[in-house]
Structure formats: C-alpha cells, structure tokens
Amino acid sequence: MESLFILVPLALVLAVIIGAAFWWSATSGQFDDLERQGRSVVEDDDR
C-alpha cells in the first residue's frame, strides 16, 4: 500500500501535464473542424 504514496502524487502530476496538453489543443483550434480532415481523403480535387 505504501506505493500509493508515490503513485497518487505521480498521477496528479500526470494529470496536470495532460491538462496542459489539453489546454493547448483546445485553444489552438485542434477541435475546430473534426470532419474536414477525414473527408479530404475522399475528395476529388488536389488543392
């Protein structure tokens, strides 16, 4: 059970890192258009 005293704080640190990564992806527009990229594969024009 002692391992939890290291693992839980470690999980918190990990959570902060993930949170920061998510903050970046949300505010830089990674979720703005979730469909276009998928559709671009089947679209005709090469532009």
Binding site: L4, F5, A11, L12, A15, G19, A26, D32
Partner: protein, 741 residues
C-alpha cells in the same frame, strides 16, 4: 476592441462595411452583435438598458439574430459607450458583420471545449480516487484516507476555478437583473457542496462531495455546449434572413449640373421625395410612386399573386416587390421603416418576446425560493442534533435536489431536437414552438409557393401538324427577350433551337419575333388579336403566326407531389384550411383537389392574421404554413409558423420553423418528430420531479450517504440524457443547408 463609429460609407456598398454607421446630422445608427444572450428575456433586458442610456433614440434587440439595432445621437453618446453598457450587463458586444464575429465565436468554442473537457477529465480522476474510499469504507488504512481526499480536492480545484466559471457569471448576471434562475441554483449547489466538503475535510468529519461537484459541472457543460453548437449552426441560416432586412443599400438618383448622377445610400437613410434606381431583379426598397414609363413588378411576396403586375408612371409601387422588367426609378413616399415590407417584418418580430420572460420569472419566483427554503429549513430543524449533522444534511438536500436532472430535462431534449430537425431539413428557431406544433389542431395553409409551384404552363390547344415540343421551343426562343418569372418558367419548358430576329417585348402583354422567316406573337389574348372569350383568359396565353393560332397555353400551378400526403396527415390531427391571396376560384379548386373543406381566396395579410386570431379564440392551437411576406403577419400571431423551402426573407424571419429542404415532406416529418420530442421531455420532467420528490425526504432523514447521493444525482441526469438519445438525431443524411437560396 470595438471600433468607433465610422463616417457614412458613401459610395461604398454598405453590405460589406462593418457597422452600418451612418451619421446624418444628429442621428447615427448602427447594428451590433450581442453575444451570450440565451433567452428572449435577455434580449428584453439589453433593450431596456440601451434605451435608458441618454442620447439613444431607439434600440431593438433581436434574440433570434443575436443583434441589436441602435440609433443614437453621436453628440451625446458614443458607440463605444453603448457597447460598454451592454458589456456591463454581462454580455459581450461587437460591431456587427465585422470579421470579429467569426473570431469571437471561435474563441467561445475553445473556451467551451476547454471547460467541458477539463471538468470531464477531472471528474473521472476524482471518481478513481473516491471509489476505493466508498468501497473500503471504514476498512481503509487511516494514513491513506487523507491522501485520497486531498488529491480529490486538488483535482476539483481546476473544475471550480475554470470549468464552473460560466455558471458564476450567469448567476451574477441573473442577480444583477434581479431574476435568479437556473445559474443561481447551479452555482448555489456547486459552491455549497464544495465549501461544505472542504470544511468536512478540514474537520475530518462528514462526507465529501468532490466527485459529485465535478460530475455535475461536466454534465451541465456538455449539454450547454451541445446546445450552443446547434444555435451557432442555426445562426448562419437566420443571419441571412436578417441581413436582407436589417441593412442594405439603394441607388439614390440626383439631378446634378452635369446630368444625372447616382450614389449608393443606406436604405435606412432614404426619405420621402428621394428618387431611387431599381435594377432588374432587385427588390424595391421603399414604398413610392413609379417615375419610369412602365414597370413589371412581381408582388407575389406581398399579395401571393403569382402573375406579375404592370404599373404605369405615377402609380404606387410597394416595397418588397421585385422589379421583373427593365430598370426603373421610384420616387419614395415613405421611409424604409414605414414601408410595407418593413412594417410587416417589425410586426412579426415584436410578437416573439414575452413568453421567455414568463418562464424565467416562474423559476425566479417559485423554484429558487423553494430550494433555499428547503435547505435552510433542514439546517434549522436539525440544528439540535449538532451543527455538523445539520450542515451535512442541508448540503445533501441541496445536492440531491439541485435541479440537475430538472435543468437538463428540457434543454437536452431541445438541443437534440435542433440537431434532429436539422438533419430532416428543418431549422428550429424557437424551441417552445415544438411543444405547440405537437398539439397543433388547426392548420392554415398558403397556396402559391407552398402547396403549389407557380407558373407552369400546359398546352391546351395545338394546330394539327405541329408537335408540342416544337411549339414550346418557339415560345422558349421568343421568351429570351422577356424577363419575368413566367418567361423564366417558359424558357425552361422547351429547348431553344431557333434563333429569333427583331424580338420585342411588351411587358405585361407578350413577346413577338421572327423565327425562320415567320413572324410569331406570343402573349395574352388581346395582344395576339384574340378576344377574351372566357373568364379563364387571364391565365391563357396564345402563340400565333400569320396563319392564326399555333397553340395556346394555360398557366396553371402544379400541386407539389407531397401536398396530398401532408394534407392527409394534418387532417388526422385537426382542421385544415387553405388561405390564399390568389383568386378565390383558384383557391377553392386547389382546395377541392386536395380534399380541404374550407378555403378562402383573395385573403390579405390582415385577413390571414384575423383568421388565425379567430381560430385561437375558438381554442385551437394554430399552425400556419406559408412562404410569402403576406403570411408574415399571420406568422407572428400563429402558435407555430412554418416557412417552406424557398420562402421569402420576411416569412423566414418571423417563422418558428424554416424548411431548408425542398418539398413538404420536412413539415410532415417535423410534426411527427415534435410529438416524439414532447413525449420525451414530458417523461424527463416526470422522472426528474419524481426523483427529487423521492430523494429529498431521504436526504433530510439522513439516509443518503455520499455514494448514493452522487450516483443518484449523476444517475438521474444520465437517465434524462439517455432518454434524450433515444430520440435519435440523424435520419437520412441531408446535405448541409445551402448558404444561398
């Protein structure tokens, strides 16, 4: 930062300018985007606040378009100050039409994704930490418990700080307006549960609600985000309709020393006496008198009459009529605001607001006090048992009775309904209309443009030896010269293979030309030299050459294919009537074809509105289906107004539902769908209320431990959401509503 008022964009097309800031002496007007209004009640309060500002002459806030139209005295108050005034109320504002709007919407979306994602992520982490705590109960190692609890606190802090912020802001806004609503209830629940949990943690006694708080915030944010996305998507469709009416510019004609010159002028600035140049195909901007020799106007928007009207010099022309002939000049007799089309639009807009206010008031006056009373009552009643117990029970009551499921019951279903209807090709503009559509039992249908497509010709008489397609191709060739709706339809009916020489067009009468050395005339009986021998002559056209009649055409309307189906379905739910601006004979003919018993022709807009009122007085819920400006007065009064595909801007602007898919099928589907939504919403409300009524006594009695409280609360919301999912959204894949019509 909001820009200051720009000088009037003289010569520039104001449709491309940002704020249509036009200062004329002591008067300036502008259009402003207002963000974050989530009900018509908000629009009313913003409007009130703007009007209270010194120097503001008039202010109108449209909730549907999220826009404010303000005219003010620039010497007394600046645009910056007005924007600040709106921002002080807790909304954000920006000059309309600017690039900023897209940017602001983008940033709002980012904020929502961040808030929702963060809350969901933290809620899941907290669950991981608290679950062993619940399961182990007293068996947990004493040193381990604080570690898990304090970690949970660390994870709930970002949720409280970032994710829940919209609720605090909403609550602050509601308090400032002295109308506490859902945001207040939610904030109260979150903050009390959080503060109580922190206190319990410090005192090392009682239950912790961190997981419930995070879960609660995450669920609510998710639902609000979904709803917001739908609203933004609808916005672009509505915006189009509004843009066409809120602003625009006209060509003002001035007689200068160097001859006639023209200047682009905002329509709002036109005054009586101005001469306006109207290009072919353009709508006449203001009521006026015709200054050109002759004009052919398509007034079907105003009168429902499909046949174009011919006007002579000096005759009155109405705003909103479309010039189908050569360019004309019109001498304005009224300002744009006073002109027919505008008047109808304003009438339609005003009818929309009061109901949302009423609902907000019910929540503020009854729900919030009841909730507070219950929590405080529990606390006071249990005080003899000790402060700790009393606090714990009061929090339990607040948490468990927090209107989570109740708050989700309607909006979640409505958000789903937005998406569901959109995939069926229908834009839902007022959520409350769904309920009324579901119980609608009187249906008023417009004819031209709704049940039928106008101006489709049928060959009735044909000279022996001439094929129908040959006759049609000659007509199509002749009609190249003309420019009116009928000509467009006729051009489409035959392939143009012949070339025409010395073509001529006498508007309102007919066309003539020489094809293959033979002189043809095509038009009304009087034009081709045939007497008007029967009462259908108005609708009969003749093609003649030097030997006499080649063929005759009957102008008829073609009933839309799905019209009988729609009428049958509507008749199953109530009475169906046909109200048309067209000739009574035509109206009753169409009605009898469709099996509609009551029909009325030559119905003016006012007459339609009166009929709506009469039916309402008889206790019916009136659903009106139409497409023209002449329907929009009736639309404003009707319980539900549905604009069919291709409806005019005026009709769209005042409709509750707008069809973006051709045909009448979307209406039939919308009715069925509305009933399903209403069933689900009712079920949700029933469940949420039953859950609260059952759970509150248990909470007061202290029979609810943290596990039951959080599972119960999250569970009740989840059930509501799952029930909504049952509605199903996307039916047949329908292409995105086209941006242009």
């Amino acid at each position: 930062m909001p820009p200051s008022i720009s000088p009037p964009p003289v010569g520039a097309d104001s449709a491309t300018a940002g704020a249509t800031g036009a200062a004329t002496g002591q008067r300036a007007s502008c259009v402003v985007d207002v963000f974050d209004m989530h009900c018509a009640a908000c629009a009313v309060t913003v409007e009130q606040a703007l009007r209270d500002q010194p120097g503001v002459q008039s202010a109108r806030v449209h909730y549907a378009t999220q826009r404010a139209q303000i005219s003010f005295d620039p010497t007394q108050v600046s645009l910056d100050k007005l924007l600040l005034c709106i921002e002080r109320m807790g909304y954000s504002a920006d000059a309309a039409g600017s690039e900023n709007r897209a940017e602001i919407v983008r940033r709002q979306r980012h904020r929502r994704i961040w808030g929702f994602g963060l809350a969901t992520f933290c809620a899941m982490q907290i669950m991981m930490l608290t679950l062993p705590r619940f399961l182990a109960g007293a068996d947990i190692e004493p040193e381990l418990a604080p570690l898990l609890d304090w970690s949970a606190l660390a994870l709930v802090l970002p949720v409280m700080w970032w994710s829940a912020r919209p609720f605090y802001q909403g609550a602050a806004r509601e308090l400032r307006l002295r109308r506490p609503g859902m945001d207040c209830a939610i904030t109260l629940g979150i903050v009390t549960a959080f503060a109580g949990s922190v206190w319990h943690l410090l005192a090392n006694t009682g239950a912790l609600y961190f997981d419930s708080v995070a879960m609660f915030v995450a669920l609510l944010l998710g639902v609000r985000w979904l709803e917001w996305e739908q609203r933004e998507r609808n916005q672009s469709v509505i915006q189009q309709a509004a843009n066409a009416t809120v602003r625009g510019s006209a060509l003002l004609v001035r007689d200068g020393l160097d001859g006639v010159n023209m200047r682009q002028t905002p329509v709002d600035d036109l005054v009586a006496g101005d001469r306006v140049w109207v290009r072919a195909g353009e709508a006449i901007p203001v009521d006026g008198l015709l200054d050109s020799e002759v004009a052919v106007c398509d007034e079907s928007l105003l009168t429902g009459e499909a046949v174009s009207v011919r006007h002579q010099r000096g005759e009155a022309v109405v705003a909103g009529a479309i010039n189908r002939g050569a360019p004309i000049t019109v001498r304005a007799t009224a300002t744009a605001a006073a002109s027919t089309a505008q008047r109808l639009l304003l009438l339609a807009d005003n009818a929309a607001k009061p109901e949302a206010l009423a609902f907000a008031d019910v929540v503020a006056r009854f729900f919030m006090p009841a909730l507070l009373l219950l929590a405080v009552g529990t606390f006071v009643a249990l005080l003899p048992a000790g402060v700790s117990t009393a606090t714990e029970r009061a929090i339990a009551v607040l948490i468990i009775s927090c209107p989570c499921a109740l708050a989700l019951a309607a909006p979640a279903a409505q958000a789903r309904a937005f998406a569901g209807l959109l995939s069926r090709g229908v834009v839902l503009r007022r959520a409350s209309a769904l309920e009324r559509l579901a119980r609608g039992n009187a249906f008023l249908l417009d004819k031209t443009g709704t049940l039928s497509d106008p101006a489709v010709a049928q060959v009735t008489e044909l000279r022996p030896g001439v094929t129908e397609s040959y006759a049609l191709s000659i007509i199509a060739a002749l009609e190249q010269a003309a420019n009116h709706p009928l000509a467009v339809a006729l051009r489409g009916s035959g392939a143009v293979v012949e070339s025409v020489t010395d073509a001529a067009w006498l508007p309102g009468q007919g066309v003539s030309g020489t094809i293959g050395g033979r002189a043809y005339r095509f038009g009304r009986g009087s034009y081709v030299g045939r007497c008007n021998d029967d009462n259908r002559s108005e609708r009969r056209l003749w093609l003649t050459d030097d030997q006499g009649t080649v063929c005759s055409l009957d102008l008829s309307e073609r009933l839309r294919e799905d019209a009988p189906m729609l009428v049958r379905q509507l008749q199953a739910s109530g009475r169906v009537e046909l109200l048309s601006g067209d000739h009574p004979e035509r109206a009753s003919f169409v009605a009898s074809t469709l099996g509609i018993e009551v029909s009325e022709g030559s119905a003016s807009p006012e007459r339609k509105a009166a009929r709506v009122q009469r039916l309402q007085q008889e206790g019916s819920t009136v659903v009106m289906i139409g497409d023209g400006i002449n329907d929009s007065v009736g639309f404003a009064g009707a319980d539900v107004a549905i604009a069919v595909h291709g409806a005019t801007d005026a009709a769209r602007a005042s409709a509750d539902l707008i069809c973006e898919r051709p045909g009448l099928m979307p209406i039939a589907e919308a009715q069925i769908y509305a009933r399903r939504v209403v069933r689900v919403v009712r079920w949700n409300f029933g469940w949420a209320i039953a859950y609260n009524l059952l759970a509150i006594p248990f909470a007061i009695a202290g029979a609810v431990n943290p596990l039951v409280a959080s599972v119960g609360m999250a569970g009740s919301s989840a059930i509501v959401l799952l029930n909504v999912m049952r509605l199903g959204g996307d039916r047949a894949k329908f292409p995105e509503p086209s941006r242009g019509r």
